[in-house]
Symmetry: C2
Subunit: 480 residues, 2 copies
Amino acid sequence: MMAKAPRVAIIGGGVIGGGWAARFLLNGSDVAVFDPDPEAKRKINEVIANARRALPAIYDKPLPAEGKLTFCDSLEEAVSDADYVQESVPERLDLKHKIHAAISEAAPAEAVIGSSTSGFKPSELNEKGARALVAHPFNPVYLLPLVELVGDADACAKAADLLRAVGMYPLTVKKEIDAHIADRLLEAIWRESLWLVKDGVASTEDIDEAIRMGFGLRFAQMGLFETYRIAGGEAGMKHFMAQFGPALSWPWTKLMDVPEFNDELVDLIAGQSDDQSGAHSIRELERMRDDNLVGILRALKVSDSGAGRVVANHEAGLAVSGEKEGLPVTLDRQVPPSWTDYNGHMNETFYLEAGSKATDGFMELIGADSAYIAGGLSYFTVESHVCYLDEVHEGDRLSATSQLLSGKGKKMHLFHRLYRGDGTLAATVETLLLHMDLKARRSCPPEGEVARKLADFEAAHAGHPADGAGRFVGERPGDR
Amino acid sequence: MMAKAPRVAIIGGGVIGGGWAARFLLNGSDVAVFDPDPEAKRKINEVIANARRALPAIYDKPLPAEGKLTFCDSLEEAVSDADYVQESVPERLDLKHKIHAAISEAAPAEAVIGSSTSGFKPSELNEKGARALVAHPFNPVYLLPLVELVGDADACAKAADLLRAVGMYPLTVKKEIDAHIADRLLEAIWRESLWLVKDGVASTEDIDEAIRMGFGLRFAQMGLFETYRIAGGEAGMKHFMAQFGPALSWPWTKLMDVPEFNDELVDLIAGQSDDQSGAHSIRELERMRDDNLVGILRALKVSDSGAGRVVANHEAGLAVSGEKEGLPVTLDRQVPPSWTDYNGHMNETFYLEAGSKATDGFMELIGADSAYIAGGLSYFTVESHVCYLDEVHEGDRLSATSQLLSGKGKKMHLFHRLYRGDGTLAATVETLLLHMDLKARRSCPPEGEVARKLADFEAAHAGHPADGAGRFVGERPGDR
């Protein structure tokens, strides 16, 4: 899928357009941008810089080589050979009409045209004859998978395939409606929150804490209905609804009314927001947010749930490949922020994690892959020896080669070399594994095909030096 | 704080009462439960079983020894010597009045009395003369930190101290209001979601995905206002409000009206929920949810943000201590679900993580603690050798002792032994570190106090055997 990344045109930069540009670029697409704002180039490059820190950090495999970013002088130039066009201009219907008329005329007939609009329906966007669909993303676009698709069914299906290929989660809305789905829910919370602040019940910070210390943690992994289903217990969803249904008629929200939007309300909210978050610049807040999101997405990937499953599915399509100095590359990835410790560098643990993933990569090469493991056979590690040769930092590219020192009988004796992106040898990981029957929890010789491939690798790697293997901790020349 | 855990009475079991019982028990409190339901004991023990899997897994240190759980035959017996009473009976005001009258009479005068009510205000609870405050938690109570406190200021302050000591985040609501804060926001989303399903715009599953693939990930770590502050960019909160304020007058929500709560709506929602989640039992869903929450909380602990900071603060008050076979215990913890791999046991990486944390524990013992590191001095690992001796599983207690093989000059040569809860030696981790000047990134001898303590440990550990240290990978008797 990655081999033929679509050509993408981004109309309108800013935080959202820049996020789209970053999402596509980092997945290998060439991206052409048009935005008349003289600051657009700087703004988009700032968003892309954030994305380069964060997006590759959610995967344990490398994203494709970055596409090429071009800034165009006209909309027509940007869209002329695009497979996909994404419009993210301000929310004014007259402007959207003008832009979409131009896009629909200048873009190839088979191009898919999406609009980031949070409020307008496709019927509104297209009432002057354009052929756009709503493709509404969520900030930061380069990390959050959700994109709401609304519009022509065939165009939505085409867009969905294309967006899945860049790791997104397209949700096709069944009927067009003002503000689609998620923003209706957010608007409901926003209105109620404005009341609570205006009435002095809670500050902006109180509301943020009420969210992130409680239901926000639930919302990151199950939504509303699955959470309530659990709350209903074995008695189920009907029981839950019977219990909480009556609250619909209680005055539990101020939603029958809307607070007046005046300067007093703006000053109140903005002032409290300054008190709450003013100590950090927006750039700092963005990095804090992104580090949190990377951590959460990686955690959900481990538990194979929600957005983590989207990450896992995307990762499954990414490949580690190549050779270095005659040895197979078995690991290739970016170092996530969470791997850094109090010494300001990658913690010792993650050198072994990298070695462990390199072992997994080598196992795939010999056919001891997930299907083989599901069949009840695997390798267990008996010993590992890590030599730390140089520091590795957050954001570094980290790769590994694997050399088979011995693959006879039940044994697989591997020597991994970990390299930083600049080519420096950062560590060696020597590891001895035994082939196991998973059910009996007992060692046994590997099956035919795996044994054959091991023998091939052993022969191929036999002449290769393995400096640093076979040593004991603290060994110096002449110790033996 | 943990030394004198409060005695707790739980009035009303079920999911919420059981969650409270678990939160206190696992933090060392003796807990007395009263619930006339003959099923209460079974139900509460099921919740506690879930909590034992999950709560200790968010910490890298051990919780205090579990308190004693008692089921009482009367409310009076349960509350008679309680420091803290938590009521979680059904949401009927007449029932709450009856129960709180009895609690206020039978509990010690200085006891703090909380109610889990999601809807009633303290003035309503106490209108017949009781002295309760609202202490409204969120499910699962043993994992989510938020508890909303409403009522008498002194009682709220006392409750806040007590709840912080069990790892919760008390949020004191400035004014009493129906449904407090978080449930007002949830009710707003709930009402809007019911409309979307009723009107055929989205299914229950669509809405759950719209939440967890997008803004749910934001809500787990920043709330509403901080997220929107970022969306406003450098122009700030006023700019954001100017942009989105007008939407308040648009028909973006159905909130001016409430859907009729009838059988048709219940059947529609319950049917869609069955389609969405019916493949899993509630117990399975609970474990999936808890694994996700544990992973998210651990990720946020690493990025020191939101609920993760609450976990970190609580953990800072927990202690690893003791000796085993003449060696200091430097690690003691429960194995979280995320440490398990495709072989159905703790992945090799986490043996080294445990060894790394044991090194941190030993560093604290010699005074090379966080203050020392902040002063610019630390240790970097040069080599580590792990011998895997036995399998470790999710939920196992894992501890380590540390033996100093050599602490001369810049070197610190440690030999950690990892033990499973059943006493089995699960692994050894031999590790060599060098003392470093963090600014110069160069090795240097440690400062006086640290060097002295190292010398003391070296002398004390000199006679201790260290079988398994000094070996090379794959070494067998007679190899040297």
